[in-house]
């Protein structure tokens, strides 16, 4: 198992490097002259030059990249052009909010998706299964931001039960969590269903039944645990996608998280902020994937017990 984990860790590091280079290059290539943008139209040449010097924008790209990376390693992500506050502070201030939202959405998707998938599989081709299939299809087809708007329409405007935006008490998180979690509930349902179906057709489940084990033992103890393995992988990937979609949800519901931070930064061409946020997002995703891989190694003894 150790070799497995080490190998995954090395891949993660390589991925992160490639990621950082990509981001770095992308920003520099497409961004135009940041100093000019910052100084604003009609600024004097020396102001622009001063800004350029201050922000180190005149050095060669490799030099910039090098200082950027060494900064990242020491946790220094630069200062936001716009806010004037260190990127790191902005990021970590808003991170907990995004995590809260992601967690809430994950809970929604797990609570809905996995049991629904199990029921669909156990009662294959029944009414439950048909409903499950429809739900899975809709989950892919309904954009989560549209769902968010509809929820807002229903619960805030027509029923008046929930507030439309911002962060406050528990009521504020319900709609964003539902909108965000819906898509993943659908894909978890699909995966759980197919994984369960495959496991339930296996020989060892047949033997477990032939042993006269009660049905709940067959399904929960044996079938589900085996079916869980591929589902776990998806959970990790899901989290990644959630970070994506969260941007729009956060914007709609004015949720003070990383997504809305990023959006604002992009609109205002705030390079250090964009850079920093995207790097951190990438770091998080790679980190989560690594953790999922390690979890996987623990759950499946076939991996745990090899070198």
């Amino acid at each position: 198992m150790r070799q497995f984990i080490v190998r995954r860790a090395v891949y993660s590091v390589i991925t992160l490097f490639l990621l950082s280079i990509t981001i770095f290059v992308a920003i520099r290539v497409t961004g135009g002259d940041p100093a000019q943008v910052m100084a604003g139209p009609g600024a004097r040449a020396e102001d622009v030059a001063r800004l350029r010097d201050e922000w180190g924008l005149d050095r060669s790209w490799p030099a910039q990249y090098f200082s950027f990376m060494s900064n990242v390693f020491t946790g220094e992500l630069g200062k936001s052009f716009n806010y004037g506050i260190p990127v790191r502070k902005l990021y970590f201030d808003r991170l907990p909010n995004s995590l809260q939202l992601a967690l809430a959405a994950s809970i929604v998707s797990i609570l809905v998706g996995i049991p629904a998938g199990i029921i669909s599989a156990v009662k294959v081709n029944s009414w439950w299964d048909q409903i499950g299939k429809i739900v899975a299809l809709l989950g892919l087809a309904i954009p989560s931001f549209w769902l968010g708007l509809l929820l807002m329409l229903l619960f805030s405007v027509w029923l008046g039960w929930l507030p439309t935006s911002g962060k406050g008490d528990l009521r504020h998180i319900i709609m964003p969590a539902l909108a965000l979690g819906w898509f993943f509930a659908a894909s978890l349902l699909r995966l759980t269903r197919s994984s369960m179906l495959e496991v339930m057709g296996s020989e060892y489940i047949k033997l477990t039944r032939l042993k006269g084990m009660p049905e709940h033992i067959v399904i929960v103890k044996h079938a589900f645990r085996n079916a869980l393995i591929p589902v776990l992988t998806l959970l990790g990937l899901n989290l990644m996608f959630m970070v994506n979609v969260a941007v729009v949800i956060e914007v709609i519901f004015a949720w003070p998280g990383i997504g809305s931070l990023l959006y604002g930064a992009i609109l205002q061409r705030d390079f250090p902020l964009v850079q920093g946020v995207v790097i951190m997002a990438g770091l998080m995703i790679v980190g989560v994937n690594l953790i999922v891989d390690i979890l996987y190694a623990y759950v499946d003894p076939r991996i745990r017990l090899t070198r």
Binding site: T30, F145, V157, V243, V247, V248, V251, N289
Partner: protein
């Protein structure tokens, strides 16, 4: 002179035969999905003939924010209502089909092409190429796709083709992975070995032999991911990073609808969104059917 009619008849017979063969391929296709897709394509192509009003000009004599015709205050000339500028919602939706379909299809084409090139190269040339391309793919996949797309769209500037490029550049990774896998197994097949032994250049093998055989995989994946690209485009338009107004796009309509959502003008949100759902649903169903259809065929080949 007498040979000319003979030749034409032979040609016509051949084309008719080929068409019939193509039509047979579509047997058993999910009718609803095909119907929806056809309607949408027709709407996109003939938008200016079908739409009752001009999508960007407020309708003369119509109220602003008029509701759909079956509600009080609605009118049959603007059956789905009007927006905050008094423009006809139905017309805007019909024209919006153009943006969604064009961006969806071309974006998928770009993504598919990039993915196919990289996938075939990695799968066939192997070793060093494979390692590098796969690492890059992994890194690319670690980037949150939508965020990357948002970022690129913002950098490139709002225009339809920039969006297409941005989306294509972001979504190629699935293709690359899948195709590489296919190519890895194709590589060992006899007709490839035969071409290698016959001295064909690697490029020629990749283009003439490998590519046609992965076509069906590409097509299946394409029809399944068109939906993703369309939703991504809608998200970009929603965030104001898509095609610039006043050209109608469904995502843009949703963004414009936000302000009035609070006061209950639901039709501005529901109808455009419904269209998105329909097109994605239809392409998903079609793609699922296509995948099932293609699979046993592949084995029989």
């Amino acid at each position: 002179m007498a040979t000319i009619p003979a030749v034409s008849i032979a040609n016509i017979a051949r084309v008719a035969g080929a068409l019939r063969q193509r039509a047979k391929l579509l047997q058993g296709a999910p009718l609803l999905a095909v119907f929806i897709l056809t309607v949408l394509v027709v709407a996109a192509i003939f938008a200016d003939l079908l739409a009752p009003h001009h999508p960007e000009i407020p309708v003369k004599g119509a109220k602003i924010l008029a509701p759909p015709f079956w509600m009080e205050g609605g009118s049959a000339s603007t059956p789905l209502g009007t927006d905050y500028q008094g423009r006809d919602v139905l017309s805007r939706i019909i024209f919006g089909t153009r943006v969604s379909l064009i961006v969806g299809i071309t974006g998928t084409l770009v993504a598919g092409s990039i993915g196919a090139i990289l996938g075939i190269t990695a799968g066939y040339l192997g070793k060093w190429f494979d390692q590098v391309i796969m690492r890059v793919t992994d890194a690319w996949m670690a980037m949150p796709a939508l965020i990357f797309a948002i970022f690129l769209a913002a950098m490139l500037g709002p225009s339809m083709w920039n969006i297409v490029i941005a989306l294509g550049v972001v979504y190629w990774t699935n293709y690359a992975r899948l195709i590489r896998g296919e190519v890895l197994s194709l590589r060992e097949r006899e007709f490839v070995k035969l071409a290698e032994v016959a001295g064909a250049s690697k490029l020629r093998i990749m283009v003439r032999h490998i590519l046609p055989n992965v076509m069906s995989t590409i097509m299946v994946l394409a029809s399944l991911t068109v939906g993703v690209v369309i939703i991504a485009e809608a998200a970009l338009s929603f965030l104001g990073l898509g095609v610039p107004p006043p050209q109608p796009a469904w995502g843009l309509m949703l963004a414009e609808a936000r302000a009035t959502l609070i006061v209950g003008k639901w039709w501005l949100t529901v109808f455009p969104g419904l269209c998105i759902v329909l097109v994605v649903l239809a392409s998903q169903l079609f793609g699922d059917w296509l995948r099932v259809r293609m699979d046993p065929q592949l084995r029989n080949r």
